[in-house]
Symmetry: C2
Subunit: 212 residues, 2 copies
């Protein structure tokens, strides 16, 4: 019983460290962040910190690896509309969710701290791939589209779109740029009648009637 | 006469610093690079260095701003084929040209050193835009394509494609991924007969007959 309590506390401590680290990395960037800053933000002792992490690099790697934990995806039936909805949802999260944003930024800049781990990228490609396989089953995709190839391309292109939106406008125009990405990818991807009935806009910008 | 000599020497010194800095940034990354390392590589004195640059950040910003100077674009008639050729040429440069690679990496990671300058990105979008305007004049584009919007999207998507290719394979598969990007963008961009006669491969992989 005692050991179970200790285990649960350890999980909570690790979680608190990752959340605090993401906030610190978001605010000051990797190189200016320190283990001490993260400890103070997480309100953990030096012992608690070193039980879980030995280095700033280790913390950063864990923040990158937890990327999917920092966001909750919108519900919906798997397929092309849900894939579109997910990309708009992620745009909103990048604009407002500091922890997710930090994790994404570290994934992009990981070479700077000696990392080269594609896992965070591949998990998004896998998520997109799942939606595309459902879209294929629903007969939404064009003949000849390779679902895994497209999932990987979408994840890569999306990465670049959010980076440029960040550098040029602090992500203020990200939703518009995601819509633009879809506008130019859909003709190769989807059947024409499917394109016509897709909503290429954030799920929460639906007209009131459709929301009900 | 004397002042002209001095001026030319100053230009050469600045050039030598930028070239050396790009190499050092490529090898050790921004945070591990030092002004001393760059001075030694460039074989310039402390005086020479401080005449041109006061800080590592200033050097990094100049390396990013010089991005287009680190590559020479392939010749050709402006239009869609040249645009495709440029993207494959840049893939080869990213694989083999350490200075260009460093400049691109710094542009992506610039937030880490307090920069937020979209100029390097916008210059590529402008280059792509020029090719698209030529393509429009040659009647290669589909009706409704916004040349500037597409140029910006292509530059953004390309950025993400090369970042993921770097993290997952050290850019070994970059040419293949650029081809994949074109495969899924062209149907929205170009007339069908134009797509059919485009070469979606590196210019130097042409069959011997076409090279002559």
């Amino acid at each position: 019983m005692k050991s179970k309590v200790r285990q649960e506390r350890a999980v909570r401590t690790r979680e608190a460290i990752l959340q605090a680290a993401a906030e610190v990395f978001d605010e000051v960037g990797y190189s200016k962040a320190s283990i001490r800053m993260i400890m103070e933000r997480a309100q953990v002792t030096q012992g608690g910190m070193y039980f879980h992490f030995k280095s700033k690099q280790g913390i950063a790697e864990a923040v990158v690896a937890s990327q999917q934990k920092f966001v909750q995806l919108p519900e919906g039936t798997d397929g092309l509309q849900r894939l579109v909805n997910i990309t708009f949802h992620l745009a909103g999260e990048l604009q407002t969710n500091a922890r997710f944003r930090a994790s994404v930024r570290l994934a992009v800049e990981q070479e700077e701290f000696g990392g080269r781990d594609a896992t965070a990228y591949l998990e998004w490609a896998e998520q997109f791939h799942r939606q595309l396989l459902a879209a294929r089953a629903r007969n939404e995709l064009r003949f000849g589209v390779d679902e895994l190839e497209f999932a990987t391309l979408l994840m890569s292109a999306y990465t670049g779109v959010q980076i440029f939106s960040n550098i040029s406008t602090g992500r203020a125009d990200l939703v518009e740029r995601v819509a633009s990405l879809w506008r130019y990818l859909l003709p190769a991807l989807a059947q024409e009648d499917v394109i016509n009935r897709l909503r290429i806009s954030p799920p929460d910008s639906l007209p009131a009637a459709e929301k009900a």
